[in-house]
């Protein structure tokens, strides 16, 4: 049995921190934001975390999928900023949404691609007949060492998908592959509050190698060519890298820009590329073929070929659109950012 996307939902906090303010505060060249193609990033408020954001996105995904909690057989929660180090987030969201108890549920961690792997597992469970519907959530309040280059982009957001039988889906997942190696480009050690990264090592041998390898593998296995895709969405650690990947693969920029959300909301880690996919699903015409490639440090990529079906028009308006959430913004200062993200150590 083939699988497809039945519904999706997203959540982007309304607060925005300007990249120029970050540059000014930390003494960076004011041209850095332009070089990274980042204008501002979304910031979750004090009482928001990966679970609350993921819950909202999942609620909308269920609504678009037009399925109830009794019909969800598995919940996978991809995050690297879970509120509890030990205690699943997937169970919190599942119970809050009234999803039945007879189900699989777990949190997944693979830097920014855990939700991508969740999608692949969902495709496998549905395709193998082990589940009717699988809820996959990618949600992060991304961490970055204040003042590090990552501080320009690490942001907050969530996305969720309901994967179900292809026949009842609004977008068919016609193929998917995963490419994984042991590549230590970005990590966070136990008891360390912020991740570290290998700077230039995160580029060519990590991000570019894995995304390009996964995309090429997908095309080899399917016989598809870059020109067969109407949209291309790649993991978005900044606004520049996805465009470089597209150039390497021979995909024109206009096929990438509709799904490029990082310049306006930053890198939402597990939601990054998949928020781009959600946005494209809300804009694409039936018959469009979408290439989506996730990336997670460590490192790995999942590549998907997704074909939009006629029935998508029936569900797009059942929830808020990503483009509207991007536009719904309230600028904040770096001081407010430190308060919202609990970056100040204090006695309480």
């Amino acid at each position: 049995m083939k699988a497809g996307i039945r519904g999706w939902g997203a959540y982007i906090p309304r607060f925005r921190l300007s990249a120029l303010e970050i540059a000014s505060l930390w003494g960076y060249d004011s041209r850095i934001p332009k070089a990274l193609n980042i204008v501002e990033k979304s910031v979750a408020e004090e009482d928001e975390d990966a679970v609350t954001m993921g819950w909202y996105a999942a609620k909308v995904a269920l609504r678009r999928a037009r399925v109830g909690g009794e019909e969800i057989d598995a919940v996978f929660f991809g995050t690297e900023s879970k509120p509890y180090a030990v205690k699943p987030s997937a169970t919190i969201v599942a119970d809050a949404l009234g999803i039945k108890r007879r189900k699989l549920a777990s949190d997944m961690e693979f830097a920014c691609r855990a939700a991508g792997e969740g999608l692949r597992i969902g495709v496998g469970l549905v395709g193998g007949g082990f589940a009717q519907n699988v809820l996959v959530i990618g949600s992060d309040t991304a961490q970055a060492n204040p003042g590090d280059l990552l501080d320009f982009t690490a942001s907050s957001g969530a996305v969720a998908f309901v994967v179900g039988p292809e026949g009842s889906s609004v977008a068919s997942i016609e193929a998917s592959v995963t490419y994984v190696t042991d590549t230590p480009d970005f990590w966070r050690r136990d008891r360390s509050p912020y991740p570290e990264h290998g700077e230039i090592f995160t580029g060519e041998p990590a991000y570019f190698h894995h995304i390009i390898s996964a995309a090429k593998l997908l095309m080899e296995e399917t016989g598809l060519r870059p020109s067969d895709f109407d949209y291309a969405i790649f993991h978005q650690p900044n606004g520049k890298f996805p465009l470089q990947v597209a150039r390497t693969l021979g995909i024109p920029q206009e096929k990438v820009l509709p799904g490029l959300v990082t310049p306006y909301i930053g890198n939402t880690y597990n939601a990054s590329a998949l928020l781009g996919l959600a946005k494209v699903l809300e804009e694409a015409k039936p018959g469009s073929r979408i290439l989506t490639v996730t990336f997670g440090s460590g490192a790995g990529s999942d590549a998907f070929s997704i074909v939009v079906k006629d029935s998508i028009a029936d569900v797009v308006n059942l929830g808020p659109r990503v483009a509207d959430m991007i536009g719904y913004r309230l600028p904040i200062t770096y001081a407010e950012y430190t308060k919202f993200r609990n970056l100040l150590l204090r006695n309480v």
Partner: protein
């Protein structure tokens, strides 16, 4: 007895994340056919203690490549590669060896760039300069400001970088094989005002092997190391002007006076770690005025220079020598010259120490 370069090979200057210093050295040596059976190996490397945590790097490279020949490692900052060729030439001229392989190798991507740059800054005086926050781009910025005050335009320096990138597009082993334009400079990251990223060399890993012999007749091609010299300059902080590259100027003037070398007629590789330095040097030698017209200097940094071929610090001099050798003996990748004479100029820091080699085609 003369010393003759009879062949060599290079590894592409790049971020070779998958290779350590040993692998790079092995790649260069194993692709150099004439490097077989040397009497001596001279390894040029500037930063292995800092970047690879390895002392006596020459021995470990020779052991790794399965050889059992004597080896010495030469360290002279950014000019290590040319210093190694000087040492190799001396070994041959003295009769201590008949064949010597110079192996320039540098591995700089073991750490993030900010750490590599911190290590590279140690070419300056640690106690007097580095501890006080002075770094190589800071001196380059002072030099550029002096030249701007002299009447040079900003485009003069940008044009050097543009020309180097253009040259590098024809060099298979160059790191930055793409063109840039003067317009790009207005949006590029500033390293030390007014010096930008595009005014700076490209930092990369690399390895270059060169074989020198006392007996050139048995080889297809040969280039004689006709003359070599070096000069220590004043520390930049003790000069009236940072852009006054007295040591380099003196050495290159001597080449003109003693050997009639005209840089417009020979293949020449100038050390251009930052764009103000080659401009200052060519100006002090009288080849350009403030209009900065490089016309006539047709064989100048055909490799793309440190700017675009890349700068694997201690190995760079060995790249320069290899490139001049190739250009004097038929060229490479369709690039050739009709000159029989070549000049290699290398310096460490802003003319703290400068070296020149005069090479002449033997056959």
């Amino acid at each position: 007895m003369g010393a003759y370069i009879v062949g060599g090979s290079v590894v592409k200057v790049d971020r070779h994340f998958e290779y350590g210093y040993r692998d790079l050295a092995y790649k260069a040596l194993s692709s150099c056919e004439v490097c077989e059976n040397p009497d001596y190996v001279v390894v040029a490397s500037a930063l292995p203690e800092l970047m690879a945590h390895q002392v006596d790097v020459g021995v470990h490279i020779v052991q790794w490549t399965g050889r059992r020949v004597p080896v010495v490692r030469v360290e002279s900052g950014e000019s290590s590669g040319v210093a190694a060729v000087e040492v190799a030439s001396s070994l041959i001229r003295s009769g201590a060896a008949r064949k010597v392989v110079v192996l320039g190798v540098e591995k700089v991507t073991e750490y993030p760039t900010y750490i590599a740059n911190r290590m590279y800054s140690l070419i300056l005086d640690y106690e007097f300069e580095v501890l006080r926050g002075v770094s190589p781009p800071v001196y380059a910025a002072l030099a550029m400001k002096e030249l701007l005050r002299d009447g040079f335009s900003r485009e003069c320096f940008s044009s050097w970088a543009v020309r180097m990138h253009e040259n590098a597009t024809r060099i298979p082993h160059a790191m930055l094989r793409f063109k840039i334009s003067v317009e790009l400079f207005k949006d590029v990251q500033v390293l030390a005002e007014p010096v930008t990223l595009y005014d700076s060399f490209a930092l990369g890993d690399g390895a270059s092997a060169i074989a020198l012999s006392s007996e050139p007749s048995g080889y297809e091609v040969a280039v004689e190391v006709k003359y070599s010299s070096s000069e220590v300059g004043l520390p930049a902080y003790s000069r009236d002007r940072v852009s006054e590259l007295a040591a380099s100027t003196k050495l290159l003037k001597q080449l003109g006076e003693r050997f009639g070398v005209d840089l417009r007629k020979v293949v020449v590789e100038l050390h251009d770690s930052y764009t103000p330095y080659p401009i200052a040097l060519l100006h002090s030698l009288g080849y350009i005025d403030i209009r900065c017209e490089l016309d006539g200097l047709d064989y100048l940094n055909l490799s793309g220079g440190l700017k675009a071929r890349g700068h694997p610090i201690g190995a760079t001099g060995a790249y320069q020598v290899y490139e001049v050798f190739k250009l004097l003996t038929g060229g490479f990748n369709g690039l050739s010259t009709n000159s029989e004479v070549g000049v290699v100029h290398s310096m460490s820091g802003p003319d703290n120490l400068s070296r020149v080699l005069l090479l002449r085609r033997w056959k």
